[in-house]
């Protein structure tokens, strides 16, 4: 079979829609074919088993959640400091809440990764390298905080996104105020 990256992406996007509407529960190769409007067996040609299918969805999520280079360039021109760090984090929250299905799918896959060692290994490699790159970027850009601070902020923003995009504790505070306070207190305390 000739590899067709566009069709692969189209199938992965269909898989993400299935994952979002039914959870991991309804995600089968057949459901992906149906959602993509393609003949039965197509998804099976691209992803040989469930681990490959789930892994492909993971990769596709990171592709689709990637920042717009123009926005990043604009940010990169500014003076480093806690204000700029806040705007970087605001932009992450903006992107991830604007695509709630993708962000929820990532949470689903991370949970599924704790049950499926193959998927877990693949996702963990991506997440770990993302975390390391965040640290390098932060240092090069002269932004406040080291790896320890970035880890704490990562947990806090993940927990906030989980609350915003799944069943909420309904704390009722302004999200932007939560985000900017988290950044200030965690990156530049005292």
């Amino acid at each position: 079979m000739v590899a067709n990256p566009e069709r692969r992406a189209l199938l992965a996007d269909a898989g993400l829609r299935v994952l979002s509407s039914t959870g991991a529960r309804g995600l089968t190769h057949r459901a992906v074919d149906r959602e993509a409007g393609l003949p039965e067996g197509t998804a099976g040609n691209y992803f040989r088993n469930r681990d490959e299918l789930l892994g492909a969805l993971g990769e596709r999520i990171f592709e689709r959640l990637a920042p717009d280079p123009a926005r990043v360039e604009q940010l990169a021109e500014r003076e480093p400091g806690v204000e700029l760090a806040t705007d970087y984090i605001r932009y992450i929250v903006e992107r991830l809440t604007a695509q709630p299905d993708l962000t929820r799918a990532l949470f689903e896959l991370r949970l599924e990764g704790s049950r499926r060692p193959e998927l877990g290994k693949l996702l963990r490699a991506t997440l770990t390298s993302g975390f390391r790159l965040d640290g390098e970027f932060n240092a090069q850009a002269g932004l406040p905080g080291g790896a320890f601070e970035i880890a704490m902020l990562h947990y806090a923003i993940d927990g906030l996104l989980f609350d915003l995009l799944t069943t909420s504790i309904d704390a009722g505070f302004d999200i932007d105020e939560v985000v900017s306070t988290l950044v200030r207190r965690l990156l530049e305390p005292g």
Copy 2:
């Protein structure tokens, strides 16, 4: 049918084991009967449909994650302050990581709640009242931080637990140091 709270709890515990090993995907009334070693149809007598089953699992998680009254009493005897607040949070992290299947099941249910309005409503009511009670407790105990700080800390600890119990970013820091720094910086900044 005579209601039997012990059998109901036994079925819910079986459901939580199914949810943990297969995800929401494998959770059916039939799988619950099988896991509990009870005749087919038993779970159906207690939980009439999927929403009732999922709701019962949610209730059972909160029952099983509840603190040990003796530990809480010990803590309540101490001087209020950031050290005591840290020990309360440490005890939450200790409980939730000691029962990883339950905590993962709660994440699963919160995700499922974003797709199933009935379940979402039920879970949200429990989470919201839990958050309010945390705030009242904190104020009565004279601990640092108000509702805003408690919300931020809640997000951060949720994100940390999600990382510890699912697919991790592998930041590699000492968990207790992460927890105590989060509490200090978020509850008592500057």
